[in-house]
């Protein structure tokens, strides 16, 4: 298929349709709304289910019900809406249902704004909802990758009976660029043996997240953990750029990773030995790869569009073996290539301390935003 000029939100919607999504339930919220609008037009014309819910709370519980039938189902939202969905997402995880949710992250906390952010890392990657569960989190950095990960998300959700997030920042949702859509997959005709579709000529099925006896809940917790370890072993995804001889290792995901890539290329043009690790799965996280890199790197630089949320995971992986610095933009601001380049150049020319708090050093370096940053 040829490349087309596609907006991220529309591309993700059409990719989901071509991946065979049977039902979509959602609620309008910027900067995600084009995804819902595309579904509103396309799903009925294909004879599939689209419903605009009265709230994100209702939307995720409609998804919960539809997922119980074994159908391919999804929703999409943006940060405040995803906060509202957290209860339902925990129930979905506890019932072990395959569900895909796209979070087109915007600036926050609170109502915040509608500009691109990565401020939902903690909420999405660390669970967000109550209880012990482990979602798979995919983070695209451009429209093509958003399409590819959208298709993958349904396969992963069904393979592991797992919750899968596509965590796209507002930039990935709103940007238009050439990309190729996948071929149409046929809709599924076989449904899993756990599905609730009516007990015709069989014993009844019950789908529930209740395990009222603690010893039964613990068995379930172990099952979820064992499945998660299987996911960790099989589904780690990341990209490496110029890392073979890198003294400085930049780590960034999504749009921050994409801008960081440009900065790394510019620094290479200046002769600085710098490379980039871009996690595609934020969960599972490439901890072992980062630990390995920290053995030889002079220093690592984490770049995010938040106050350093993935930074925590990088520091856990590095475990003090190499200095780590941080550079972030917040509030819906996207870093310019030159800002990250300046950080790389600075780090190439000075010794970064092994001790201390990278987040605090960064905040003081930029004087808490008072230095007249762009």
């Amino acid at each position: 298929m040829a490349k087309e000029l596609l907006k991220g939100n529309v591309a993700m919607a059409e990719a989901a349709i071509r991946a065979g999504v049977e039902a979509y339930f959602g609620y309008p919220i910027t900067p995600q709304t084009e995804l819902l609008e595309w579904m509103a037009a396309r799903m009925p014309e294909l004879g599939r289910t689209f419903l605009q819910a009265e709230s994100e709370v209702a939307a995720i519980n409609m998804v919960y019900g539809a997922a119980c039938t074994g159908a391919r189902v999804m929703s999409s939202s943006s940060s405040p809406g995803v906060s509202l969905m957290m209860e339902g997402l925990s129930y979905i995880a506890g019932t072990e249902l395959p569900v895909v949710l796209v979070d087109v992250v915007r600036g926050g906390p609170g109502l915040g704004n509608i500009a691109p952010s990565q401020g939902d890392y903690y909420q999405i990657v660390k669970g967000g909802g109550h209880g012990d569960y482990f979602p798979i989190v995919l983070a695209p950095s451009n429209v093509q990758e958003a399409i590819d990960l959208m298709v993958l998300s349904f396969d992963l959700a069904e393979k592991y009976r797992s919750l899968v997030f596509v965590m796209a920042d507002g930039n990935v949702g709103q940007i238009m660029e050439p990309a190729e859509l996948p071929p149409f997959q046929p809709l599924k005709t076989q449904y899993p043996d756990w599905a609730v579709r009516g007990a015709e000529n069989r014993e009844k099925h019950i789908l529930s997240s209740i395990y009222i006896k603690p010893e039964d809940e613990e068995v379930t917790n172990y099952r979820l953990l064992e499945r998660w370890h299987e996911i960790e072993s099989n589904e780690l995804r990341y990209k490496e750029y110029f890392l073979d001889d890198a003294e400085i290792v930049v780590i960034g995901f999504g749009t921050a990773g994409r801008v960081a890539f440009s900065a790394v290329r510019a620094a290479r043009a200046q002769g600085i030995r710098v490379g980039l690790l871009r996690p595609i799965t934020l969960r599972p996280f490439p901890s072992a790869q980062i630990a390995e890199l920290s053995k030889t790197a002079k220093a690592l630089l984490v770049v995010e569009m938040n106050s350093g949320q993935m930074l925590d995971d990088v520091q856990l992986a590095v475990a003090g073996h190499a200095p780590v610095d941080f550079y972030g933009r917040m509030g819906g601001m996207v870093p310019y290539q030159d800002e990250i380049l300046a950080e790389i150049v600075r780090m190439a020319g000075e010794d970064i301390p092994l001790e201390g708090d990278p987040r605090r050093r960064w905040a003081q370096r930029v004087n808490y935003g008072r230095n007249g940053i762009k």
Binding site: A58, G88, V196, K204
Partner: protein
């Protein structure tokens, strides 16, 4: 010569009701409501295409007591969950079973919009004017002056407002096809309740939109009454506040015979 009169079976467990000891208190009318639902589904012969949605509350384990496919919703979200199932499987019979705290308090948004959309599901609504499972707190349907553990001196309408009348409210939604209130306090009313439950499911089968049967029910434990006195309390205290009757009946149901 001894002759034996032929045995005639007059009463048995409905096939869609599991042979499972339930968690309800002695004298609670949940058991009656469960049985009525099961009898109706047996008579309609729809076990194989019925999907129930259990709530949070005393009937949280309803899925154990029925013998057909069931899911368990988050508190108040049963109508949304039922919507998701029904939209994917429109030829199945989907119903929720909810109490007053679940449906009329935390789930008010979901129930109103399900009715507004004319969602083709059936709701069995148990109104016992109290939160049962958590031990007797004030519900949205608690009567003015009624003592509960969270209104220990009686529900003061100046502070806690007034009871919510769900049948009346839902009957005003254009998407509603059948909305009635019945009571489980005596055999006559139980028979009327069963007929209403049958009509509600028949409305769904006919695609007539949202259907809801409100059942005035007893909670002897948390009301602090004997089972017998609790039934009297329904009749004397609840029925005057919650009048029994048909609040919305689609004209298509007028000539229904079964």
């Amino acid at each position: 010569m001894v002759t034996t009169a032929p045995t005639r079976l007059v009463y048995q467990r409905p096939t869609t009701l599991s042979d499972t000891p339930n968690s309800y208190c002695p004298g609670c009318t949940h058991g009656v409501a469960h049985r009525l639902v099961a009898e109706v589904l047996d008579e309609m012969d729809v076990r194989g295409r019925t999907i129930g949605v259990a709530p949070v509350g005393c009937s949280v384990f309803a899925y154990n007591y029925f013998d057909f496919d069931f899911v368990e919703a988050a508190h108040g979200r049963a109508p949304a969950m039922a919507t998701g199932i029904k939209r994917v499987l429109p030829d199945r019979i989907v119903f929720t079973y909810q109490g007053d705290g679940d449906m009329a308090s935390i789930g008010m948004g979901e129930i109103m919009h399900a009715a507004g959309r004319g969602e083709n599901i059936t709701v069995i609504f148990i109104n016992n004017a109290i939160y049962g499972m958590t031990g007797g707190q004030m519900a949205p349907t608690t009567l003015p002056g009624q003592k509960t553990t969270s209104s220990p001196t009686g529900r003061d309408v100046e502070v806690a407002g007034f009871p919510l009348h769900m049948a009346e409210l839902l009957s005003n939604m254009e998407g509603s096809g059948y909305v009635v209130r019945r009571s489980l306090h005596d055999p006559k009313n139980i028979r009327l309740a069963k007929k209403a439950i049958r009509t509600a499911f028949e409305a769904q089968v006919r695609g007539l939109g949202f259907s809801m049967v409100e059942l005035l029910s007893s909670c002897p434990t948390n009301w602090g009454l004997t089972p017998k006195d609790a039934l009297t309390w329904i009749e004397e205290r609840m029925v005057p506040v919650y009048p029994l009757g048909d609040y919305k009946v689609s004209p298509s149901l007028a000539n229904l015979r079964f």
